[in-house]
């Protein structure tokens, strides 16, 4: 186990390094510079800014400087938000997105698993069709439509809940629901398919031949085996959900990290793009690592041995 963890750590570091390197040089291939803003700075001023930030130096030199700083934990300053470091911005916005993401997962996973299980148990009956309908709608209707509808019904028409902003529990309800719909939809489908697949396994027949009741068969034999594919998708799902959603955050004016992903690329905010990419990369690698260890708890066949 210790050896496995050490091995994984080394691989993770290499992954992050590769990610940072590729992103750095890819960014440099984009035309333009961070100072071509709406105010149309004079070319002389742009050049001066470039040399002030060291952007006129050869790419490889810039790369070495960046990586050197990164090793010290310094991601540099944003070009767009002057005087604010990338790390500051991440630390201010990420907790809000993560909070929202966790809430939506806490609702989406149980509900999705439940609907998927019900659909599989009631296969071909009304409950099944209803669950499948929910999941098809959830996947195919974009979340800005769902979000806007919720705002209109609960905010504008009935006035029960605040429409936007992030100031307390009542503010989190609508965005949480909006964000969890996609999770519910995809999990219902996966869980339903997985339950049905397990149902045809020989060991389900063995369990029935033992004289177990339906509940015992489902709880002890079917659910745990059906969970295996769900756990596989857990790592990336958690990572992407906690990283915020550009659309949902815009829709509900939530000061999360989501909008920075899009804005920083548009503004060619080099340090910000790189910082966010690396932060997300670390997060994704860590989430997958945790899931791989969790995997062994559910499925003994892939328990980690050295």
């Amino acid at each position: 186990m210790k050896r496995y963890i050490a091995k994984r750590l080394v691989i993770s570091v290499i992954t992050i390094w590769a990610l940072a390197t590729f992103s750095f040089f890819l960014l440099k291939t984009l035309p333009g510079n961070p100072f071509q803003t709406e105010q149309l700075l004079k070319p002389e001023i742009q050049e001066k800014m470039m040399s002030y930030y060291g952007l006129d130096k050869p790419y490889f030199e810039q790369y070495l400087t960046y990586m050197g700083n990164l090793l010290h934990g310094d991601m540099g300053y944003s070009f767009k938000y002057t005087n604010r470091s990338v790390w500051d911005i991440i630390m201010q916005t990420f907790p809000i997105s993560a909070d929202l993401g966790l809430r939506s997962l806490a609702i989406g996973y149980p509900v999705g698993l439940l609907l998927g299980t019900i659909a599989a148990r009631r296969r071909g009956k009304k409950a099944d069709y209803l669950c499948v309908l929910i999941s098809v709608l959830g996947v195919s209707v974009p979340n800005f439509v769902i979000g806007s509808l919720l705002q209109w019904v609960f905010g504008v028409k009935t006035g029960l809940l605040p429409i936007a902003q992030w100031k307390g529990f009542s503010y989190s309800i609508l965005p949480t629901i909006t964000l969890s719909i996609a999770t519910i939809a995809s999990l219902t489908r996966t869980m339903r398919a997985s339950m049905l697949e397990v149902e045809n396994q020989d060991y389900m027949k063995t369990a029935k031949a033992k004289g177990l009741g339906e509940k015992e068969i489902v709880w002890r034999h079917q659910l745990r085996n059906a969970m295996i594919p769900i756990v596989t998708g857990l790592g990336p799902a958690v990572a992407t959900t906690l990283m915020g959603s550009f659309i949902v955050e815009q829709l509900f004016s939530i000061p999360g990290i989501g909008k920075h992903f899009t804005e920083s690329v548009q503004a060619l905010d080099y340090t910000m793009v790189l910082g966010l990419t690396i932060f997300f990369g670390v997060f994704l690698v860590a989430a997958n690592f945790i899931v791989d260890i969790l995997y062994g708890i559910i499925d003994p066949r892939i328990r980690i041995t050295d």
């Binding site: 060991y203 027949k205 031949a209 009741g213 339906e214 034999h221 559910i298 003994p300 066949r301």
Partner: protein, 339 residues
Amino acid sequence: MSILEVKDLRVSFHTYAGKVQAVRGVSFSVDKGKTLAIVGESGCGKSVTVQTIMKLTPTPPAFIEEGSILYEGTDIVGYSEKQMQKLRGKEFSMIFQDPMTSLNPTMRVGRQINENILKHMTLSSKEATKRTMEMMRLVGIANPEINMLRYPHTYSGGMRQRIMIAMGMAANPKILFADEPTTALDVTTQSQILDLINDLKKQFQMAVVLITHNLGVVARMADSVAVMYAGKVVETGTAREVFYEPKHPYTWGLLNSIPDTANMNGNRELPAIPGTPPDLFAPPKGCAFAARCPYAMKACIKAQPEETCLSDTHKVSCHLLDPRAPKVEPYHVKRQKTE
């Protein structure tokens, strides 16, 4: 005294394409402490018959159209799911063909055996664990204290089949259904598993219904034999009768296609029964075997043969046994010694 008697059982699967008549009037009986072997080629309804007795085939699509299943004199055809749950595992047990897939991969083997004991016996969990270990020792697994904590994937095929047997035997069933228990195992393991089933049968006076298409296994294990073809029993009798005095051309064909390793000279072709079994969506009006039978007569295509009783135990359904039929020489039947 027969412990299980199946009379004229008919089972159909209702599918979109129509009704598949998988079992078309099967009758047999099993005595206490005896072994009945059901033989026949793939798709002849062996497994469906046995799974119907335990009601393991889901309804729909499978329906019992007709017939009775008498267990200790009581007809269990109309039993509800709840009533069946009391029989399954306690009175009847079943071991399956592929031990690699019939154990739950995410549950420790001890717990899988234990589950059966707790369900059917009034034992404390401590006593149940003790019995689990006893059962594991009984099927030849040493150190059950440690081995009961292992997961199925850490065992070999033969060991897993032993665990399946321990699980099936855990609540002292009266009948053990073994659905091709050795097909997925290698030859030496096969032999060990068959010996184990035989030992346990004698020790616990248990009836065994063995499904197989290996006639060597039949000769070694069976007290009586039922030969099935296209959803019907075409010949049934004691092992001696079926092996030494077979009367049905299908039985002749089966016995004839056992490879003869003693007189092999490399030239002899392995005999086979030509043709394929009939489509059970629309079974033929006459004898189902007529199309492949070298002795088929006009009568065979027109009408189903009646069952002829040659002795108390030996029953054959074939028009050749009609007094008006021509006398035919059975094609070379090899004499297999019943061990």
